[in-house]
Symmetry: C2
Subunit: 370 residues, 2 copies
C-alpha cells in the first residue's frame, strides 16, 4: 500500500482554507465561517462529493460568473411564532440555511415546533448538516431542497425534478445522530463523477437518455447530463414495478415543501439558465425542528432511537453480508477515522486548491507542498 499521508489534511486546516478562499472571493467573515463549517462536515463524514471537491467547481466558479452573491442577507419577509419565510437573495446558501435552521430550532424550543422556508436560496451543501444541528439541540430536524432538474418523473425521460433530498435527523444515546442524508433519486451526479474518475461502469438502471435508453458508461452519461439529455431515475427506478412512482412521489413532496410555501422557483425554473446565459439558480429550501421535550423526556427518546438502531443491526444478515448499518453509522465511523488521519485530497482537487491559493493570494501551506 502506498503512503498517502502527505495528501491528507487535518479538519481545522482544511476548514480554515475554505474560509480564507471564500473571504478572498468577497464573502464576509461570519458567512464564510458558516460555509466552511458545512463544507468541511461533508469531508469529515465521508460525503466526498459535497465538500472540498466542490469549493471551486460549485461555489467559487458561481461567484466568479455572478450566479452567487458574496454579500449574504438573511431577510425575514414574514414571521409567526412557529414559522418564517426568508428571502436568500442568492447569497451564500450554507449561511442562509444555517441561520434558517437555527431560527426553526429557536422557535421549536419556545413553541414546540418551528419551520422556516427559504426562497432565492442557493446550493447549501449536504442537506444533512441542518437536521443534525437540530438533533444536537434536542430536536428532531427535517430539511430538504429542490435543485437543478436532473431526475425524470415516473414514465418520463425528461429531467424535471432535482435530486431533492428528504432528510431527518434524530438524537440518539449513541453519541451521533440517526440520520439518512441522501437524494430521492437512485444516485446523483456526484456519484457518477466519482465512477468516471475511478474508471468504473455504472449500474444499468440509474440513468436514461432522452430516447429512454439506459446508460451505463459514466463518460457519455456526464456528457448527456451536460446537454440536458440524460435523466436520473427516481428511487425505485423505471416505471412502477419496483416502486419508481414512490421515489418520484417523494421527490415531488420535497419540490413542494421546498418551493410552494416560500414562492421559490420550482422544476425547470431552477435550471440557472436564461436565454442561454447563466443566471442565479434560486432554489427553495425548508427547515423544520420539533422539540422532543414537548412530547417526552429527551433521554427516553434518545434511548428508544438507540434501541431501534441496535435491534436493526442485530437482524439476520443476508448471505454474504457482513454487517447491517443504521443511517448515520458509516458517516460516524468515517468521522472517527478522519479525525485522526485527516481528509485525503485526490489529485484533481489538489490542483484546484493550489490554483485557488494562488488566485486568492493566500499563504496557506498544504501537507503535500515540496
Amino acid at each position: 500500500m502506498t503512503d498517502d499521508s502527505k495528501y491528507r489534511i487535518h479538519f481545522d486546516e482544511l476548514e480554515k482554507f475554505i474560509k480564507d478562499v471564500l473571504m478572498a472571493k468577497g464573502v464576509e467573515e461570519p458567512d464564510a465561517a458558516r460555509c466552511a463549517k458545512v463544507l468541511i462536515q461533508a469531508d469529515k463524514q465521508g460525503m466526498d462529493t459535497h465538500g472540498i471537491q466542490r469549493l471551486k467547481t460549485i461555489y467559487c466558479d458561481r461567484i466568479d460568473c455572478g450566479q452567487l452573491n458574496t454579500k449574504t442577507v438573511f431577510d425575514i419577509v414574514k414571521e409567526t411564532e412557529t414559522t418564517a419565510v426568508v428571502d436568500g437573495h442568492n447569497g451564500m446558501g450554507h449561511s442562509i440555511a444555517m441561520q434558517a435552521m437555527q431560527l426553526a430550532i429557536d422557535k421549536a424550543k419556545k413553541h414546540g415546533m418551528g419551520m422556516v422556508v427559504v426562497r432565492n436560496g442557493t446550493h447549501y451543501g449536504i442537506a444533512g448538516y441542518y437536521p443534525q444541528m437540530a438533533a444536537q439541540q434536542g430536536c428532531i430536524g427535517f430539511s430538504g431542497c429542490n435543485a437543478r432538474p436532473s431526475v425524470c418523473p415516473c414514465w418520463s425521460v425528461e429531467p424535471k425534478l432535482g435530486t431533492n433530498p428528504l432528510v431527518f435527523a434524530f438524537p440518539s444515546d449513541e453519541g451521533f445522530p440517526f440520520c439518512l442524508d441522501c437524494a430521492t433519486s437512485i444516485v446523483q451526479r456526484g456519484k457518477i463523477e466519482m465512477y468516471a474518475r475511478e474508471g468504473k461502469k455504472c449500474q444499468p438502471g440509474w440513468v436514461c437518455d432522452r430516447s429512454g435508453k439506459v446508460l451505463s458508461e459514466p463518460g457519455p452519461m456526464l456528457e448527456a447530463f451536460q446537454k440536458g439529455t440524460a435523466a436520473c431515475y427516481p428511487l425505485g427506478g423505471y416505471g412502477e414495478e419496483m416502486g419508481g412512482h414512490k421515489g418520484y412521489g417523494y421527490a415531488c413532496d420535497v419540490e413542494i415543501l421546498s418551493s410552494a410555501l416560500s414562492g421559490a422557483n420550482f422544476l425547470s425554473q431552477c435550471g440557472g439558465l436564461r436565454d442561454g446565459k447563466k443566471v442565479p439558480i434560486e432554489l427553495g429550501q425548508f427547515f423544520m425542528a420539533i422539540n422532543i421535550e414537548s412530547f417526552r423526556p429527551l433521554a427516553d427518546f434518545e434511548k428508544q432511537v438507540g434501541d431501534i438502531a441496535r435491534e436493526l443491526r442485530a437482524a439476520a444478515k443476508a448471505p454474504g453480508a457482513t454487517r447491517i448499518y443504521t443511517p448515520g453509522e458509516k458517516e460516524h465511523e468515517t468521522f472517527l477515522e478522519r479525525s485522526k488521519k485527516g481528509v485525503f485530497i485526490p489529485e484533481v482537487t489538489r490542483s484546484e486548491m493550489e490554483k485557488l491559493r494562488a488566485d486568492c493570494k493566500l499563504d496557506t501551506k498544504f501537507p503535500w507542498d515540496n
Copy 2:
C-alpha cells in the same frame, strides 16, 4: 364484457354497512362512523386492499379475538400549544387517528404548526386519509405509522420494520390534493394477496425468504409471510446498488417518528404475539399539520402546487408510455368513476359481507341479493 353492475355498491350504502357492522360488534356510534369514513375512502380512491376487503379480516377478526378494543378512548396524556401525546388504549385506530389529526390541524390553525403522536394505536387504514384531512382545511398534512414487521433492513433477510408509510398531502388548485400514499417498501402484502387472487407471478426482487432467495410465486410468498420467514425489500431493493439503503432509511425515519416521541412499540414489539398468543398490536402513529397561511396566501400555494403538477404531466414521455401521472391523480379519477358506478365487490369479499350481515343480524340489502 360481462355486466358486473350487480356486484357494484354505492358509496353511501357501503359506508352504512361498515358502520352498522362495527356498531353490531360493539363499537360506539361516533367511532364506528369515523372508521367507516376512512375505510370507504380507500374504496372510493381505488386502494382496494385497504377498504371493505379488510372489514372482516383485519377489524372484525381482531375485535373477535380481543386484539382490538371496541371501546375507544382518546386520551391526551401530554399537551402543549403545538404538540400532544395520545394514548389510544388499543381502541379503533381510525377514530383515534382522525381525532389526532384534527387536533394537529386545530393547533396549526392557531399556532402555525401542530403535531400529535399516538401510542397504543391500532391499524388506521389508509395513511393518506389523515394528511388529506389537513389539505382540505388549508394545511399541509403529514402522517405515518409503524406496523407489523414485514420489511428487512438493508443487507438483512429478517422482517424488522413495518411497511411504514410516509405520506404528505398538499392542497392544489385542481380540486383534489397532491398526495402520494404508499409504503416505504417496494410492495406491501396486500398487493401480493391481489396477485395471488389474480393468479399472477410477482416481480422478482420484491420479497426474499430467510435464505436470501428471491421469491416470485405469490402463494409460497404468502405462506412464508405467515411463518415470518419472508421479508419485503425496502424501496430500492436488495443492497445499496439501486438505493435499498434509502428505502430502508425512510422506513427507519417513519419507525422513529411513529414511536420514539410517544413511547410506542417499535420493530419486533409490533408483532401482536406474546408467548404464541395474539395480543394487541399496539402501534405508533404521528400526525402533523402545517398552516399554509402562516407562510403565504393559500390560493398562491395552491396555484404553485397545481403548476408543479401540470409541468410534471407535460414532461417528455418514455417510449411506450401513454401518460405521466402526478401523485393522487389516479386516485381522483377512480373516485370520479366510482362515484357514478359504485365499488365493485369481488366474490370473496361478497361472501365475507354476507357472513358479517348474518352474524351481526343486519337487514342490509346488497345489490347482488337474489
